[in-house]
C-alpha cells in the first residue's frame, strides 16, 4: 500500500494527448477505454506465453504489440488533429545522422549484392552443365547420322537398293517415306547365304574379330538340313548331273585293279 499511496501521489490527471500512451496486448483486438485513462485494451484472447528464449517469437510479439498500439492511437490522434505524417519537404534533424543512415544503406546493399552474386553463380553453373549435356547429345547424333549415311551409301554400292533416297534423307525424310516403293524391289539379288553373311558382317570390309565362332553360333544348328547333307531330299528339277565321285580309297583301288 505504500506503493499505492505513492502511485496516488505521483499520478497526474492529464489529457491523453499529453501522454500518448496505449496499453494493449499484442493481439490487435483493442477495446477503447475512457478518454482520460490511457487506451486500455484488455487482451481478451489469451496470449500464448511467449517463450523469452525464442528470439524470433519474442521480437514478433513486441512488434505486434507496437502495431496494436499504433492502430489504436493513430485514429485518435487524427481526431485530435495531431499530425502523424511528416511532409516530404520537412527537413529537420533526425535521431540518426545522415552518415549513419548511409552506412546502414551500404550494408544492406552489399548484402543484397552478395546474395545476387551467389544466385548468378549458381545459375551459371547449372546452365553450363545443361549446355555440356546438350552438346554431347548433338555430337552423338551427328556421329550416328554419319554412320547411317555411310551404310546407306555402301548398300547402294553393293546394289542392294537402287534408290538414292539417302541423299535426300537429311532434308526431307517425311517426304521420302511417302515416295517410298516407287521402283519395284529386286527380290532375289544375292543368295540367302550371301545375304545372311552381309547382315552379320555388314559392309565396309573386315571388322576385327567379327568372324569368330561364339558359343551361340557354334551351338546353333538351325541351318543344318539333314536331307541336303545326306543327299536324301528330293532333287529340285534335277540339278547338275550328279557327280558321284568315288572316295579316295575307292579310286586307288580302281587304279590298282586297272593296272
Amino acid at each position: 500500500d505504500g506503493l499505492k499511496r505513492s502511485l496516488g501521489d505521483l499520478r497526474r490527471q492529464l489529457a491523453w494527448v499529453e501522454r500518448l500512451d496505449v496499453t494493449l496486448g499484442p493481439v490487435a483486438a483493442a477495446a477503447d477505454g475512457a478518454s482520460h485513462s490511457p487506451g486500455e485494451g484488455h487482451s481478451a484472447s489469451h496470449k500464448e506465453a511467449v517463450d523469452p528464449e525464442n528470439d524470433f517469437q519474442r521480437e514478433m510479439s513486441f512488434y505486434r504489440q507496437a502495431q496494436a498500439a499504433v492502430l489504436e492511437a493513430l485514429p485518435r490522434l487524427h481526431k485530435l488533429q495531431v499530425p502523424t505524417r511528416r511532409p516530404d519537404d520537412y527537413f529537420a534533424e533526425m535521431a540518426k545522422s545522415d552518415q549513419q543512415m548511409q552506412k546502414i544503406r551500404q550494408k544492406l546493399k552489399s548484402k543484397q549484392e552478395a546474395m545476387e552474386k551467389t544466385e548468378k553463380a549458381k545459375q551459371l553453373r547449372a546452365l553450363r552443365k545443361y549446355g555440356k549435356k546438350v552438346q554431347t547429345e548433338i555430337l552423338q547424333k551427328r556421329q550416328k547420322e554419319k554412320k547411317s549415311m555411310l551404310n546407306a551409301v555402301k548398300k547402294y554400292q553393293k546394289g542392294l537398293s537402287d534408290k538414292l533416297d539417302f541423299l535426300d534423307e537429311g532434308q526431307t525424310s517425311s517426304q521420302g517415306n511417302k515416295k517410298g516403293s516407287g521402283s519395284q524391289r529386286v527380290k532375289k539379288g544375292p543368295n540367302a547365304k550371301r545375304r545372311y553373311k552381309n547382315q552379320k558382317f555388314g559392309f565396309g570390309g573386315k571388322k576385327k574379330g567379327s568372324k569368330w565362332n561364339t558359343k551361340e553360333s557354334f551351338n546353333d544348328v538351325s541351318s543344318f538340313k539333314g536331307k541336303v547333307a545326306h543327299n536324301k531330299g528330293p532333287r529340285k528339277a534335277g540339278k547338275k548331273a550328279l557327280n558321284k565321285r568315288p572316295g579316295k580309297r575307292a579310286r586307288q583301288k580302281m587304279k590298282s585293279r586297272a593296272r
Binding site: 506503493l3 500518448l20 494493449l24 487482451s43 496494436a68 498500439a69 511528416r86 529537420a92 535521431a95 549513419q100
Partner: protein, 259 residues
Amino acid sequence: ADTKMDRKDKLFVINEVCEIKNCNKCIFFEAKKKQDLYMWLSNAPQGPSAKFLVQNIHTLAELKMTGNCLRGSRPLLSFDPTFDKEPHYALLKELFIQIFSTPQYHPKSQPFVDHVFTFTVTDKRIWFRNYQIIEEDASLVEIGPRFVLNLIKIFQGSFGGPTLYENPYYQSPNTHRRLIRLSVAAKFREKQQVKEAQKIKKNESRMLVKDDFTETVFETPAEEKPVEVQLVKPEPKATVKDKRKPRKTQRKKQKKLFR
C-alpha cells in the same frame, strides 16, 4: 559550466543538480566495474524512484536497425497489459509515462508523432524497443536502441528513502557470475571424485580366494633326474643310404617326363 558529480558524492546530490537545472524527472546511469550498467529513474523533488540493472544493450549505432525518426519528435508509448495487474508495475508505468512522453507544445519538440516505444514484461523483466512508424497501416521498422531492464528496488524518495518494493527475482551480477564459477568448479570436482572412486573400486575388487586343497591333492611332483654333463663329443651316427631312392639327377628326369 556543467554541474558535475564526483565519484565520492552520495546519490542525493543528484537531487540538487536537478533543482539547479529545473528538472523534475531524472534518468541516471551508473556503470560499475566496466561491466554492469545500472539505471535510476526518479521523480526529482520528492517522488518515488526505481533502480534497474540494464542488460542486452544494443545502441543506435547497430547497422541492423534501419529505421530513423525526427530528433525530438513525440513518441507513442505502448505498454503490456501486465503493467496494470500489479501495483509495482502500475507505479513503474506511471513513471515511464511521465519520463518518456513529451508534452504537446514543447518548444524543443517536433510536432509529428512518428515513433513508438514499447515496454513489455517478459521473463520477469521489462523489454524496451523503439520502432519507426512508416505507414498509416502500422508497418514498423526498428530504430533502436534496445535494452532490458531488471528491476532491483523501488524507493519512496528520490535516490533514497524507504524501500517500497524489492524484486524477489533479481540476482545481482556478482552473484550470477559467482554461481557460474561455482557450477563449473562443482562439475570439475565431481569428475575428480568419480575418477577417484573408480580407482578405489579397481584396487578393492581383487577378492582373496582361499586355497582349495582338494585341487592340489593329486599333484605329485616329478622325480628329480640327475644332471648329466657331457664332456666328450658323441660319435657321429652312421648314415644309411636308401638304395631304392633314385639319385638326384634321375629324380629330375622323372619329374620332367611326368610333365
